[in-house]
Symmetry: C2
């Protein structure tokens, strides 16, 4: 469809699950002329070099962004401000600078204060991931049919926004634009609160006196194991999310606590009708998610089912 790449040079700052997936997808789709990557740790840089997905691995953030026309920060949100300060003086005029952070308002502020006026700042958040992290965890298909939310500040060049949107669409994502504040509220409920709850219940189960860890593991197929997946996500990333989206998370936690109190009371009082009504309503949400292709229609997430040898 297009003969020349969308961007001559893509710079990736950070090469974990998201950075690594962007590199693989952009490469597979021929969207970029050259990819330059960097990472904070020497071990990661070495591994990225070995993987052979990017054209060059460099040692510093400032070096990585030189002559890049698209720069994407793929690092924990708490590190975005300092990284932006490091690259500011080396950015090519007219470059698009973006990120992939799961929090927007605080990160946009932290980055914007360092950016020169001659670049286009288009913050982004691809709502996609797995529980894995590190340079080997990425894959080109991660963003397909997932949503990427752009939160451009007022006055951002419309062409730059459209160009970044086209990049995300080309690697399979749907694109939506909203304010950073609304993003943070929406993600507080669809992502941050679920992670907090999952992290909590997994440690609750691990610290009981009357139930052993071995029992928790063995009988986890009763439902618990579903929570352990997201509770195995990257601790640094999630620490930063909660520190940077405090207000929205606390607001959603308040709503959740009210609802949990209602159900707790129904259990204590033996109020079966309230429980039944509640449990009936929640089925519709699952159906809705499956219908729009945001989850697999197969039972049990389509988990692999072992086979039993037939009786001889």
């Amino acid at each position: 469809m297009i003969d020349t790449p969308m961007f001559s040079r893509l710079a990736l700052i950070g090469f974990g699950l998201i950075g690594g997936s962007i590199a693989r997808a952009a490469r597979a789709q021929g969207l970029v002329g050259e990819i330059v990557a960097t990472a904070r740790s020497a071990a990661t840089r070495e591994r990225v070099q070995e993987l052979g997905i990017v054209d060059r691995v460099v040692e510093s953030n400032a070096e990585a962004v030189k002559d890049a026309d698209l720069v994407i920060l793929c690092i924990p949100v708490g590190a975005c401000g300092a990284a932006t300060e490091e690259i500011a003086a080396s950015l090519k005029p007219g470059a698009i600078v973006s990120d992939v952070g799961s929090v927007k308002a605080a990160v946009v502020r932290a980055m914007a204060e360092h950016l020169p006026a001659n670049v286009h700042f288009v913050p982004a958040h691809p709502v996609a991931g797995t529980e894995d992290s590190g340079p080997d965890s990425g894959f080109a298909e991660l963003f397909i049919n997932r949503w990427c939310i752009l939160t451009p500040p007022d006055g951002t060049d419309a062409d730059a926004v459209e160009k970044l949107a086209a990049f995300w669409r080309a690697i399979g994502a749907n694109v939506e634009v909203m304010t950073p504040e609304h993003h943070d509220l929406v993600l507080a409920v669809t992502s941050h609160l679920p992670h907090l709850i999952a992290y909590t219940i997994v440690s609750t189960a691990d610290e009981l006196e009357d139930v052993t860890r071995s029992e928790v593991l063995k009988f986890s197929a009763g439902g618990f194991r579903d929570f352990t997946r997201i509770a195995a996500s990257d601790p640094t990333m999630w620490r930063d999310v909660f520190l940077n989206n405090k207000d929205a998370v606390l607001e959603m936690l308040g709503e959740f606590q009210e609802d949990l109190s209602k159900l707790t009371r129904a259990i204590r009082r033996g109020d079966g009708e309230t429980l039944f009504d509640h449990f009936t309503r929640t089925r519709a949400i699952r159906r809705g998610i499956v219908e729009i292709g945001q989850d697999d229609a197969a039972p049990d997430f389509g988990r692999k089912q072992p086979q039993l040898a037939k009786k001889a």
Copy 2:
């Protein structure tokens, strides 16, 4: 391995996900001579007849158990007492009577008071399932590498316990024996509390003023969708679980609330160290579950990943 079936006649009272899976698995493994099934609703009975998995479908519980040497109640735990009363007079002397209930202490009491002394009562709980229900939802592989917990009352005939254990092993399950009270505590944390939390957060998300249902669905891949699966489980079954395991569930809820308060306080105070430490510990549980084969090692539960057409 065995030439004659383990049981000449299996009676299944109820034919939902679990009953239907037992029927399919027992048939596939040639463990039973004949399967007689019944279900409360005429529509279910008709569907079971059409499916052709069992030998006979009958209209009443009492009729179903006649001459059966294994009787399994596969109905919501709240219905087990009344069903046992209905079958008591028709049971064959020496028959094994069992169930599949997710709660044991209350159910064992409710069933035991109706059972004649000349049958063997071996309560069971296969810790396996999907979010689907109804006669079409079962499959023969459901119990493979899952645990089936037996909670025989004191003095139960050891041969009867072993015979039921052998049946469950033959359809793929691992078997563990414990007291009903300990079962209820273990399952409160590995199954009942996770379901309660999932049911809560899904309705919290659905009732927000500032975030639309459409947004919740679209951005659910951020973590929320993982919770919607178990919150789509059968409402009657789960109402009965909470009504019948009230004390253990409330105890686990108390533990969970304490832990959630700790994390909430860490977020409010901006205490990144506490958050990071907490999020690091929970990874080990996920690894443990994957290592013992209770979940898939593939990222994202092994969910299917769509492919993107290569650029022309």
